[in-house]
Symmetry: C2
Subunit: 317 residues, 2 copies
C-alpha cells in the first residue's frame, strides 16, 4: 500500500481559487490557481475545482490523504455546508464538502479562511507548540481567528471572533458592520492609505508624494513601506500610528482571551519592524501585566500561501 502523504489545500477566494499540493511537513510542492470568474455557473466552477485537484496529484493519486478548503465566509464546519460567502454570490446552503468528497473519494474538510490560516500557523508556522492562539490577518481589512486549548473557537451559528469589530473609539467613524470606531476602521490597507493621504492633504511633509509621482492615487501600503525604509519620518509615523491602533485592539483581546501567542499575518504584516515594534510596545503598555508577561507576538510564517497552507492543515487538524 502506498503511503498517504500528500494534501491539497484550496483557497477559495472571491477573485482567485488557489491550489497547493503539500507534504505532511507543510511544504508546498506545487501551486496553481484560476480566476473565480473563469466559470460561469456554480456547477462548472465545482467541476473546475475537481479537475484542478485531480491534475495536482496526477501520477500520485493514491498518495492523496485529503483535501482542505478555506472559504471567505460562514461555514458549518461539522456539516461541511457553506452558509454565506463574502463577495461571492449563490453559495448559500451548498454542501461543498460532500460534493467534492463524492468525486475525489478522499476525506474533505471545509472551514472559514481565517480559521484555516490559524490552524496552518498552529500546525506548521508561528503558532507551533501553542494551544491558545490569536491569529490576525491585516489585509484590506482585519481578519481573525481564535484557538482555545488547541481547538478553533467557531462560535454558535459559525460566527464569532470578529476582532476587527471591537470598538476602540466610542464615537469614532461609522464602520461597514454598522458599529462605530471599530478596530478595522483604524487598521489595514484601506486605513493606511487614507490616513497618509489625509495628512498629506493637510500639508504634512513627506518624501512619499514624490515617490508616488505627485499623485495621491498612486500611494499604496507598499510605497509607504518603501518610504519608511528610506527614513521618511512621515511614513514611519503612519506605520507607528497604525501599530498603536492594532495594539490597542489587541490589548482588549489579550485581556479577554489571555492567549499564549498572537500571530499577525496578511499583506500589511510584511511591512517591517516599525509596525511590529509599535504593536508590541502598545500591548506591553496597555494590557494587564500578568497576561503579557510571557505573551508572544509573532509575524505569521505564511503570507501569500496562508490560504492554501491553512486549508491543507484542516486535513490534519
Amino acid at each position: 500500500m502506498e503511503i498517504k502523504n500528500r494534501i491539497i489545500g484550496i483557497d477559495f477566494g472571491a477573485t482567485f481559487i488557489k491550489f497547493g499540493l503539500l507534504n505532511l511537513k507543510g511544504e508546498i510542492l506545487k501551486k496553481s490557481s484560476f480566476p473565480t470568474k473563469a466559470y460561469i455557473s456554480r456547477k462548472s466552477l465545482i467541476s473546475g475545482i475537481i479537475a484542478e485537484s485531480e491534475s495536482m496529484v496526477a501520477g500520485l493519486r493514491k498518495r492523496l490523504l485529503g483535501v482542505g478548503i478555506g472559504v471567505p465566509g460562514q461555514v458549518d464546519y461539522n456539516k461541511g455546508v457553506i452558509y454565506n460567502l463574502t463577495n461571492v454570490k449563490g453559495w448559500r446552503g451548498v454542501h461543498l464538502r460532500d460534493i467534492i468528497k463524492s468525486r475525489l473519494k478522499v476525506p474533505v474538510f471545509i472551514d472559514n479562511d481565517a480559521n484555516a490560516a490559524c490552524i496552518g500557523e498552529a500546525k506548521w508556522g508561528a503558532g507551533k507548540g501553542f494551544n491558545d492562539i490569536i491569529c490576525i490577518t491585516l489585509g484590506s481589512g482585519l481578519g481573525s481567528a481564535v484557538m482555545i486549548e488547541g481547538r478553533i473557537f467557531r462560535g454558535r451559528g459559525y460566527s464569532a471572533a470578529e476582532m476587527g469589530h471591537i470598538c476602540i473609539e466610542r464615537y469614532g467613524l461609522k464602520c461597514n458592520c454598522g458599529g462605530r470606531g471599530c478596530l478595522e476602521t483604524f487598521a489595514g490597507n484601506s486605513y493606511i492609505v487614507k490616513e497618509a493621504v489625509k495628512r498629506l492633504k493637510k500639508g504634512e511633509k513627506s518624501q512619499l508624494l514624490k515617490l508616488a509621482n505627485g499623485k495621491f492615487s498612486e500611494i499604496t501600503p507598499k510605497l509607504i513601506d518603501e518610504a519608511s525604509k528610506e527614513g521618511d519620518r512621515f511614513s514611519i509615523n503612519v506605520w507607528k500610528r497604525m501599530g498603536e491602533n492594532v495594539g490597542i485592539g489587541l490589548s482588549s483581546i489579550v485581556n479577554t482571551f489571555n492567549p499564549e501567542v498572537i500571530v499577525i499575518g496578511g499583506g500589511v504584516a510584511k511591512s517591517g519592524k516599525i509596525l511590529f515594534g509599535s504593536i508590541r510596545t502598545t500591548i506591553k503598555n496597555r494590557a494587564i501585566p500578568v497576561f503579557t508577561r510571557d505573551l508572544k507576538i509573532r509575524r505569521a510564517r505564511f503570507i501569500e500561501d496562508a490560504g492554501t497552507v491553512g486549508a491543507a492543515a484542516l486535513v490534519l487538524e
Copy 2:
C-alpha cells in the same frame, strides 16, 4: 440511606464571608455570615468557615451533597488552589479545597466568584437553558465571566475574560489595570457617582443635589436611581450614558463571543429600566446584526445572593 439534597455555597469576600444552605432547586433555605476579619489568622479563619458550615447543616449532616466556594481572585479550579485574592492578603498557594474537604468529608469545589455567579445564573437563573453566556456584574467595578458550549472559559493561568478592561476609548482615562479608556472607567458605582458630581459641579441642574442634602459626598447610585424614578432628567441621563458605555463594551464582546444571552447583575443592575433600555438599544445599534438577531439581554436573577448561590452551583456543575 438519606437523600443528599443540601448544598452549602460560601461567598468568600474581602469584607464578609457569607454562607447559604440551598436545596437542589437553588432555593436558599438558610443564610449566615461573619466579617472576614473576625479571625486573626488564616488557620483560625478556615476553622471558622468549617464550624459555620457544620452549623448550617446541624441535624441534617448526612444530607450534605457538597460545598462550593467562590473567591475574589485567581483560582486553579482543577487543583482547588488559590493563586491570588484581591484585597485579601496571605492566601497565595493555599489548597483551600482539600483542607475543607478533609474536614467536612464531602466534595468541595472552589472557583473565582465571577465564574461561580455565571454558573449560578446558568443553572437556576437568567442563563438557564443557554450554553453560550456572558455574565457581567456591575458593582463598584465590572466583573465578568464567559460560558462557551456550557463550560466556563477559565483561560490559561486561570485568568481571562477581563471584560472590564476592554478599551472603548483609545485615549481615555488611565485605568487601575495600567490601560486607558477601559470599560470599567466608564461603568459601575464609582463611575456613576463621579460622573454625576462632575456634571453638577459644572452647573448642570438636577433635583439630585437637594436629595443629597446639598452635599456631593452624599450622592450614591441609589440616590441617582431614586431621582431618576422621580423624573429628574439629569439623573435619567446619567443612567442612559452609563448604559451606552456598557452597551459599547458589550457590543465588542458580542462581536467576539457571539453569546446567546448576556446576563447583567450586581448592585447597579437593580437600578431600573433606563439602564437596561440604553444597554439594549446600544447593542442593537452597534453590534453585528447577525449576532444580535436572537441575542437576549437579561437582568440577573441573583443579586445579593449571587455569591452564595453561584458557589453552591459549583457543586452541581
